[in-house]
Each structure stands twice: as structure tokens, then as C-alpha cells.
Amino acid sequence: MADKRGKSSLKRFFTSRWGPIATGAVIGILAPLLVFWGNPGNMGICVACFERDIAGALGLHRAGVVQYIRPEIIGILLGAVVAGLLFREFKPKAGSAPLIRFILGFFAMVGALVFLGCPWRAYLRLAGGDLNALFGILGLIIGIGIGVAFLRGGFSLGRARPAPKAVGWVMPLIMVALLVLLLVAPLFGRDADGNPVGPIFFSETGPGSQYAFWAIALVVGLAIGFLAQRSRFCTVGAIRDVALMRDPHLLNGVIALIVFAFITNLILGQFHLGIADQPVAHTSQWWNVLGMVLAGFAFTLSGGCPGRHLIMSGEGNADSGLFVIGMITGAGFAHQFSAASSPAGPATFGPLAVGIGLVVCLVIGLTMRQKTA
């Protein structure tokens, strides 16, 4: 009885206005701590970067400095599974334009990798004093604004339908498989030069070689996934809902994230105000803006930020699962086709990839519509 009451007041707290604020605050504290414990600078958590690292670890791209199976991603998704099961919100569903969602995930990743971060990291970079992030956030707002215009005009990816339990368990089980691969790290041998031939690749230098101890990262991910599932925390919905509905419910969470990350960075001595020489960042502002225009546009058409898609995958939403797989695939392509930026600036084909992505998103925005009433 007491347990039931406790669960119900917990339920109310997290769906109240305090839910996103508490979630943002917890992420704001834990993300800089992860940097303190070993993650790359201003990259306590970056859903895009970490999925890109996973793509690299699986050999989907060969950028040797960004290959690692990030336990945070596994934790966030599985934390949402736990919360979903506990609160009866694990409801497998599928069938809302799956292939379009894959493509949106693909190009959202391309845009994020031109900027060098997802919306979570854009806010975390700002909270670490990286002023280049302001350009990324500006681009994010523009991209979300374009998406909102399409939503107002009747854009819809159509209805998902309830699906068998097995459909909902695919993404959680893929995460379990990734965890096994992280811990076992199979290696089939080395080539003549002594380089590992895979199948799993872990960076020996660069951001991919910087990580907190896996169990800590996993537990932090689980906690964040649990809280974000309860509060529906979303870093794209935050801006979208203000533009579309004048509703600051989710935005409060993002503000809490920035404030708490800023304070935690100050305490840990990780706050460095400036533009030049920021960790895993470049100063090519046009492409910081345009990369995030593409990402924000694609995220908005897809219905949420990359973290939110991990959470929804954990609730059994297979369409979000495909969005996540689209992002991981996009990361592989972005690096293989020299479209992902580096601290030196945009790569050769980054601008072209952003252009293609924007055209694809515009076509999707113009052609996908469905009567809702």
C-alpha cells in the first residue's frame, strides 16, 4: 500500500512541471562529472557523438580516434525499459513511416557531426564555456523553427500501431548485445602492421580513448534513462513546444540542465570561457549553424531529440528504434564520406552532405502529410 502510494506520488512529481527540471538538473550534474571521470571535454553525454563512437567500434567507419562502445547509450535505453516496465508504459508499437524515420535519423546525425554534437552536447558545451555552441544552438532553433512550420502546415508521419512484444524488445536486446561486445571486446587478430582487424575497434588515441569506467557510465546512463522516461525530457521538444504551443514545460528542463552543468563545471574547474581551442569543437561558425539547422529540422520532423528517441526505443517504439539505427548508420557514412567535422573544421564533403540533407528533409516535409481528424 505504502509502496503504491510512493509510486503514485513519484509518478505525479515527474509528470508535473518539476519532472523535466529535475531530469535536466541531474543530467547537468552527472554529465560534467563523467568528463571529470574520464569522458572527453564537454562530452559527458552526447547522444550523437556516442552513437558515432559505437558505429566506429563496430567498424562502420574507420575514423580511428572515435571508436568506443559507449555504455551511456546502452544505459539510457535500458533505464527507459526499466521505468517503462515499472510504470506500465512499455508499449511496443511500430509502423509510422519507418523508412522515412531511418532517413531522418541518418541526416540528423550528418548535421550533428558537422557541428560536433547533438542538442544535449550543444547545451553542455555552452555550460562548459564553449561559445561556438551558441552558433550551434542558433542553428538548432532555426532548424526546429522550419520543422514547426511544416507541422503547422499539416506534416505527419502517420500512425503507429500496437505491435507484438517481440518488436519492442529488439532495441533493448541490441543494447544488451552491445554491452556484451564492450566487455568481451572480441579481436580476431592483427594485420601485418600490428593493427587490430576487429570485429570490435577501440580508439587508442583521441576522444574515443577517453571514457569513464564502464560501470559508472552504465549506471549514470541507467539513471538518466529512468528519469527521462518518467519526465519525457526532450531537448528538441523544449524549443518546439515553445514555438508551437507557447508551452515552456520541457524548456525548463533544458534551462535546468544548462544552469546545473555550468555550476558543476565551475566547481570541477572545467569551465573555460572562449571560442578558440575548445574541446572537440571547431570555429567555423557558418557550419556550426548550418549543421544544426539540418539536425534540428530532422529531429523536429522525427518527433524528438536523439535522447528522446533512445527513451522511446526503450518504451518499445520500433519507429524510434529505427531512427536510432539511422543515426548510427549516418555516423558511419558521415565519417567514411569525409562529411564529419574535426576540431580543424568542416570536412571536404560536410557542406555538400548538409545541402543534400536539407533537400531530403524539405522533400519529406512537403510530401508527408495525413489527415489527423
Binding site: T15, E89, K91, K93, G95, S96, L151, R152, S156, L157, G158, R159, A160, R161, P162, R232, C234, G237, R240, D241, L244, M245, R246, D247, H249, S302, G303, G304, D319, T372, A373
Partner: protein, 74 residues
């Protein structure tokens, strides 16, 4: 104002479509009662919040077939 019930079926739609459709219906309808069908607690809460902002009193009822019926009265 009439007592005709306007039903908006938002089941299976992803964010922010249910809340947006609810807002559109509530701000343009002449009906005294608007009911919005959704399939998730997230959409239920978002639709309730949208209704509150449009100054309608809303109440969510569980449906036998799963999901919720959010009923708004002016």
C-alpha cells in the same frame, strides 16, 4: 454552443501532433465537448496541458481497448 461531441482521433501519432490537433480543435470548435483519443500517457499529458492553455477543463479516461479518451468541456 451545442452539445455535439467533436472527436479527434490522435492514436498512434507522434509528438507533437496530438497536442497540436487538440489545440486546433479546442480553439476552432463550436462544440461544447471535445474528446481526443490518444494511445500513450505522454500524449494524454501533453493533450491535457494543451487544453489547460486553451482554458478548457479536461479529464482523461482509460479506454478498454488501451490508450485514453481525454474529454474537454468548455
Amino acid at each position: 454552443m451545442t452539445d455535439n461531441v467533436l472527436t479527434v482521433d490522435c492514436s498512434g501519432l507522434s509528438c507533437p501532433e496530438p497536442a497540436l490537433a487538440a489545440k486546433k480543435a479546442l480553439t476552432s470548435t463550436k462544440s461544447g465537448i471535445v474528446e481526443v483519443l490518444v494511445d500513450s500517457t505522454t500524449s494524454r499529458d501533453n493533450v491535457l496541458r494543451a487544453g489547460k492553455r486553451a482554458c478548457w477543463a479536461g479529464e482523461a479516461l482509460e479506454r478498454d481497448e488501451g490508450g485514453f479518451r481525454v474529454v474537454f468541456r468548455k
